[in-house]
């Protein structure tokens, strides 16, 4: 039996960094003062207090350089809190969400990054998308969100109903 072991098991595949991407390890935990004051114990709850202060969640998923989308609670958090999202994760993560019925934000955020499988190109693309978004006028962003509230509501309802849809699909698959 040819079993493979890696010690220590890292559970990550993030060896994508090279000299083309600046990388510094912060010396200490860095936290915005707003989070220190307002971060409630339950980040799952819709309309969580600190989420009310922001338009967009930049989701740092568990993996970045990985062959498949791997979606965790980190991505579900902005959907539950009815906010837009950018995902720093594996290529195709936005596509996977769209196939599960979620709406993404390609008309205000350049989502090209999701299609780039080369990790360094994807990282640079997603950072550019974030920087471009943060340069926008906040009033313009709020107007956009007001006009697109239905998408936030759609995504929350889609998340709520997703389990039943997936169960229906599973039952159909098993009973074939």
């Amino acid at each position: 039996m040819k079993l493979l072991s890696i010690t220590p098991w890292t559970r990550v595949n993030d060896d994508f960094l090279d000299g083309s991407i600046d990388y510094q390890e912060p010396d200490l935990d860095v936290s915005h003062p707003l989070l220190q004051q307002d971060c409630g114990p339950d980040v799952w709850k819709t309309q969580n207090y600190f989420y009310q202060h922001v338009a967009l969640d930049i989701v740092s998923e568990s993996v970045f350089h990985y062959p498949y989308p791997l979606i965790t609670e980190k991505t579900l958090r902005p959907i539950a809190n009815q906010r837009m999202f950018i995902i720093i994760g594996a290529a195709g993560t936005l596509g996977a969400l769209q196939r599960k019925g979620f709406m993404t934000w390609g008309d205000i955020i350049d989502e090209t990054y999701d299609t780039l499988t080369e990790p360094r190109a994807r990282f640079k693309s997603v950072m550019t998308a974030i920087q471009d978004f943060c340069r926008r006028d906040l009033t313009e962003v709020k107007q956009y969100l007001e006009q697109n509230q239905y998408r936030l509501t759609h995504n929350l309802r889609n998340l709520r109903d997703l389990r039943q849809r997936e169960l229906d699909q599973l039952i159909k698959k098993l009973d074939q």
Partner: protein, 185 residues
């Protein structure tokens, strides 16, 4: 029947599977990914000389695999163990949030009969991730938006998080709320 297992799989999914199959065991990949021989030992408690058509094992893979030359090591170990113990592959259900694993499994199953292949359930719904009681219908509150974005990176120490922090740390804190956990030095 389904109450004998710990969490790791959504209870509604578990009920659907429990109604249709004789679930022999449910094992989380984190229980053996660092030492695959632990899976061998676990399976030996339930292995049968002859499996029934309704016998199933559930392996929950809600962790990342380690990829080496394009192959997931944990997934390959599972297949190697199944072959070594001569357990039919139809008994294997993989419940995973690796959304694409089915394709990799198909490649590993090319020599297997069509009726002797694992069942793959690709979903990100598990008891930790999915909290529908909190998904209450309400009008999005947009009145209090004061910042463009938030970026919470307080998870495990990962290079992509540090690279993100490095790339974004100069953005005005009035626009971006950022949090990152580092090891104390």
């Amino acid at each position: 029947m389904t109450k004998m297992f710990d969490s790791g799989i959504d209870p509604y999914f578990l009920n659907v599977l429990g109604e249709r199959f004789n679930l022999l065991d449910m094992i989380q990949s984190t229980e053996f990914d660092q030492d695959p021989k632990l899976l061998v030992g676990r399976l030996q408690h339930t292995i049968k000389p002859r499996f029934d058509n309704h016998d199933r094992y559930i392996i929950v893979m809600f962790e990342t695999d380690y990829y080496w030359h394009g192959h997931g090591i944990c997934l390959n170990n599972i297949f190697e163990i199944w072959r070594h113990l001569n357990i039919p592959f139809y008994t294997l259900i993989l419940y995973t949030n690796n959304l694409g694993l089915e394709h990799e499994v198909q490649e590993l199953c090319q020599d297997l009969h069509a009726n002797d292949r694992p069942t793959i359930i690709e979903t990100f719904i598990n008891p930790l991730n999915y909290q529908p009681k909190h998904y209450q219908d309400c009008v999005p509150n947009l009145d209090h938006i004061t910042h463009h974005a938030i970026c919470l990176m307080a998870g495990a120490k990962r290079p992509h998080r540090y690279a993100t922090w490095t790339a974004l740390k100069d953005i005005d804190t009035d626009r971006l709320i950022m949090s990152i956990k580092a090891n104390a030095k």
